[in-house]
Symmetry: C2
Subunit: 238 residues, 2 copies
């Protein structure tokens, strides 16, 4: 219940909220300056029901002024990723790898940004926030700052002349440790988030997303509020 | 039936085919050099059933090696356009206007390109063709060459390092007259296309899209193969 002051004088910002750690902290950052228009996109990923629950919990927490939930079918139709194709297993984390893992969903973040930009143009929001972070990412190409710089130019050129939408990536150079610390300092509801790529009941603790999250909490010296299977001790992930 | 030679030695190109004149001519251009992977996107526009029929007719004509039909709900959810919001009337053409007409669908072409790029990355297509044309357009910002230049950079930076996808806009600087002439010279099946924004049975002849199309045929000195209401004489549109 962070928005007790009236939002009438605050400009709107669209924030992409997957329901994970990074997007929750991003919403907390945007909330300091803007009324929130929170956007969630389900795209056929394995844990979409759990992520949607996390989104709604987070949107309730921030008393979001607007919310939009979009369901895409085409990224699943197109496939090519272990997140959207049930015949490809989600691998355990291998943070030392150089190849892009099978969890990469081709050009996914561009789809998410397009939806955010169209919505922002219609509701008059001047900012689109996305919680992409390059350090401690899985090496996805659409998490790099250069991609967002280029996409920002496409937004300027592809929308109406009177439309001004800034793309904001407040976490782009932050490590997971720093993101956890930032979230705690802002009072972000990290207990409501969901990061696991595999499960919707108890987070597996071993996929890329769980591993990066747990290492971030460990390095920050903060206990992750989510439960994990008892055989996944934090020491394993150092 | 233009693809009688085997496509096995031709590289794949994804072509966005709405079913209109420009995309049909673009498919004919791409067909000269590539095996075709034709993509159609329905996004809740008024004439989506008729456009889908045109797409399938065109894909049959070219014996497309692959085809993908995607249905988006979110552009209708987001609204802000007379093409997707039934409460906003589609205006008659006013080609001398300076404002962007209500038929503009916010950032639409970026959504279409994202789908094309994701599909191209998965099927290994090295080119994405789109029939955007700036002259004789309705002034939509996402029909400008600068937008495609910026988006092309976002494609390079947002896909895997080994992915190389060129964006091709062969009509970007062509007038409607030149597009009609090009289509006729390539034997493109213009009789299978659909351009009208309003109707699905007989094209209205008076919306922006019909007006620009008819003017292009008139200026090329070629009879539009589609029927129009008898009170819309070609002289009215000179």
């Amino acid at each position: 219940m962070l928005n007790e002051a009236s939002d009438r004088n605050r400009s709107l910002a669209v924030v992409l909220v997957s329901g994970g750690l990074d997007s929750c902290v991003t919403a907390a950052i945007a909330n300091a300056d803007h009324a929130l228009a929170l956007l969630h996109v389900s795209y056929g990923q394995r844990t979409e029901a759990r992520e949607l629950r996390a989104f709604n919990d987070i949107a309730d927490f921030f008393c979001a002024e607007k919310r939009l939930v979009v369901s895409l079918d085409h990224l699943r139709q197109i496939g090519g990723s272990s997140l959207t194709d049930p015949t490809i297993a989600v691998p355990d984390a291998d943070l030392g790898r150089s190849a892009i893992p099978t969890t990469y969903v081709p050009f996914r973040n561009a789809h998410l940004l397009c939806i955010a930009v169209s919505w922002a143009e219609v509701i008059g929001a001047g900012h689109v926030y996305i919680g992409a972070a390059q350090p401690d990412s899985s090496g996805y190409p659409d998490c790099r700052p250069e991609f967002y710089d280029a996409f920002g130019k496409a937004i300027d050129l592809g929308t109406k002349p009177e439309t001004t939408i800034s793309m904001v990536t407040p976490l782009i150079n932050q490590t997971k440790k720093e993101i956890v610390q930032k979230g705690v300092s802002l009072g972000a509801p990290l207990q409501l988030t969901w990061s696991c790529y595999r499960n919707e009941d108890v987070a597996c603790g071993t996929c890329d997303s769980c591993t990066l999250r747990l290492r971030g909490f460990d390095q920050a010296g903060i206990q992750d509020p989510l439960p994990y299977p008892s055989n996944r001790l934090h020491e394993d992930r150092a």
